[in-house]
């Protein structure tokens, strides 16, 4: 089932926008888990959520082509492991002490479903306290795959509202 295509119903006039389908509560629960582990700095548990073909991407702009454009974060699985390993040293100064964080994940919509893989779009607001409180917000796109061992996170793409910068240090898990 593909749920993203709303076009072509009427050649005279574009179809009125339709609501997207809701997200399966079990997938929503998986995404809340991801949010909670990130908030609480449970780095190794967070890392276990990821699939082998992972992409953790924080671009400057949604239309950017990462082959030609720099991003704030563009991690494959190996680099996610390194990021977590650095945080786990307890000596990652920019997260020593770690930020105190709570994030809200809302406006969750099912963007696409193909076989065992679903794409979910959400808005988020993240309250980060470290010396002072900062607010991070934006749109987050998750791709989740269901396998025999449960769900795994294939991609997480974060479009920050302030991606045009300047951006403060972002050493926690956004």
């Amino acid at each position: 089932m593909t749920t993203t295509d709303h076009t072509g119903q009427d050649t005279q006039q574009p179809a009125a926008p339709q609501p997207l389908p809701p997200v399966d509560p079990q997938i929503a629960a998986f995404l809340y888990l991801e949010a909670r582990l990130a908030d609480e700095g449970r780095y190794s548990e967070w890392e276990q959520l990821w699939a082998e073909d992972a992409l953790y991407w924080v671009p400057f702009h949604p239309d950017d082509d990462p082959r030609r454009t720099l991003s704030y974060i563009n991690d494959n699985r190996r680099r996610i492991h390194s990021r977590v390993a650095q945080l786990n040293t307890g000596n990652r100064h920019a997260q020593t002490p770690p930020s105190v964080m709570r994030r809200l994940l809302s406006n969750m919509e099912l963007l696409a479903q193909e076989g065992d893989t679903v794409s979910v779009g959400s808005n988020f607001a993240l309250f980060e306290y470290r010396n002072q409180q900062r607010i991070w917000a934006g749109r987050v796109l998750h791709t989740v795959r269901q396998g025999p061992g449960g769900y795994s996170l294939v991609s997480k793409i974060v479009h920050l509202t302030n991606a045009q910068g300047p951006v403060e240090t972002l050493a926690f898990l956004i």
Binding site: V58, F60, D64, P66, R67, R68, T69, L70, S71, Y72, I73, N74, R79, S82, R83, A85, Q86, N88, T89, N91, R92, H93, A94, Q164, G165, P166, V167, E168, T169, L170, A171, I174
Partner: protein, 436 residues
């Protein structure tokens, strides 16, 4: 801010009677150079209004009409390639009522039209249209020609790096760069076309630190073992040891405030290509290696690939961060924006993609290295709130500095030779007589 009013020792920043010797000495600097609003203003008036400042790379404005909005010190500017092909640095202020004229970060335009009253300027800065002009009298018509956009009187480039000076007089860019041209040459020697492309976008990282903290740190060979221990412990070993006695890595004051950490002797000793590029084997970069050999011949290409890119600070605001490029814009005494991009090699898409991923790993607000440097800079700024001791010590290696035809060199990479060179220049520039 610190309590400058109540402490006569910190009064050195006032414009009249500024005695630079009270804040910079050969082996130490006074904390107020990082905190004083008066000194910050004086830096804007001297370093950024009288000297050469990096503003852009020519690849970013390669077509006629291409423009970028940047800053020179506290002045917002438009860097634009005009209809005549010339790059100008126009002050971003309508000559009528001071509205900021251009509000996009970049684009292409033949003219800039002020949204307030419609005054229109060509991309060479000249005033081309004043709506409802009959409303102006004869006196206005006589001054109209003088109402072009203000522009930096001098714009020049070296190896594609474009610099501007807001002063009509002073040393030429070549004189200003001096030995630092060699660093740019070293970077260009890694490009099969001899040119660079800096259009891969810029990370804009807000540092809660004085701009000098941000730039000095880039040529500090002492901190890596401590600040970046988490990377070497958990992710990967340093490319070569950071223990000074184990490596032929030198620090160098190139003169005029330019300075560097130079790994070339160590790399030549190893005679190994791409140590500076994650020790990637050349088999993983076949197109790039072939293009380098095609352009320069196998021997010269090999040497360039061994020696690698520069790690050089070009006074005051440009850092050639090996394959990355960083420049800074000071915002306030305790606030700086660092822009980080990469040096892409024209026609080398696969190589450039690798360079992008490497830069993201190391640099910017989430980078494994620079996020921690930013944190250390913030803590430095916080520590300066303690008023005692008043001075920061830059004495490391003072007795072992050796002057030769490349500059002042110290064989101990942890020597504070680059910082001493930076502040000698700083004292010359910031200590000069100002117009008041």
């Amino acid at each position: 801010m610190t309590a400058v009013e109540t402490d006569p020792r910190q009064d050195a920043g006032v414009t009249e009677g500024f005695d630079v010797g009270r804040v910079v000495q050969p082996d130490r600097v006074h904390g107020s150079v990082y905190t004083s609003p008066e000194i910050f203003q004086r830096e804007m008036d001297t370093i950024f209004r009288t000297g050469w400042v990096y503003v852009a790379h020519d690849s970013e404005v390669s077509e006629k009409g291409d423009y970028l909005t940047r800053r020179v010190g506290s002045d917002p500017v438009i860097v634009v390639r005009g209809k005549d092909g010339r790059i100008r640095v126009l002050l971003n202020r309508c000559s009528h009522r001071a509205n900021r004229l251009c509000n996009a970060p970049q684009g292409n335009a033949g003219s800039f039209r002020c949204p307030y009253h419609g005054w229109t300027f060509s991309n060479d800065g000249s005033l081309t249209a004043v709506p409802m002009r009959t409303g102006y009298g004869e006196a206005f018509r006589q001054v109209r020609e003088d109402l072009a956009l203000a522009e930096a009187p001098r714009v020049d480039s070296y190896g594609g790096f474009v610099f501007a000076s807001l002063s009509p007089e002073g040393p030429s860019l070549a004189e200003h760069l001096g030995r630092a041209t060699r660093a740019i040459d070293r970077l260009l020697a890694l490009s099969p076309t001899g040119t660079l492309d800096l259009r891969s976008g810029w990370m804009k990282h807000l540092h809660r630190a004085n701009w000098k903290m941000v730039v000095e740190n880039n040529v500090d060979g002492y901190h890596a073992l401590f600040t970046h221990a988490s990377v070497y412990d958990a992710v990967r070993r340093a490319k070569v040891s950071h223990v000074p006695s184990k490596v032929d890595v030198v620090v160098r004051d190139l003169g005029q405030g330019h300075s560097e950490i130079d790994y070339s002797a160590e790399y030549r000793k190893l005679d190994e290509e791409f140590v500076w590029y994650g020790r990637a084997p050349r088999e993983k970069l076949p197109e790039y290696v072939a293009a380098m050999e095609e352009a320069y011949g196998p021997e010269q290409a090999h040497d360039a690939l061994v020696v690698g890119p520069p790690h050089t600070l070009i006074w005051p605001n440009l850092f050639l961060a090996e394959m990355s490029v960083m420049y800074v814009e000071p915002v306030a005494p305790d606030e700086t924006v660092a822009y980080t991009g990469i040096s892409a090699m024209p026609g080398q898409d696969r190589f450039n993609e690798r360079t992008l991923r490497r830069a993201e790993g190391a640099m910017g607000p989430a980078g494994f290295l620079i996020a921690d440097d930013g944190e250390i800079g913030m803590r430095n700024q916080a520590g300066l709130a303690a008023h005692d001791p008043e001075w920061l010590v830059l004495a490391r290696g003072l007795e072992t500095d050796i002057e030769d035809d490349t500059g002042i060199v110290n064989a101990d990479k942890s020597a504070e030779t680059p910082q001493r060179g930076f502040y000698r220049r700083w004292a010359d520039v910031v200590g000069q007589e100002t117009r008041g």
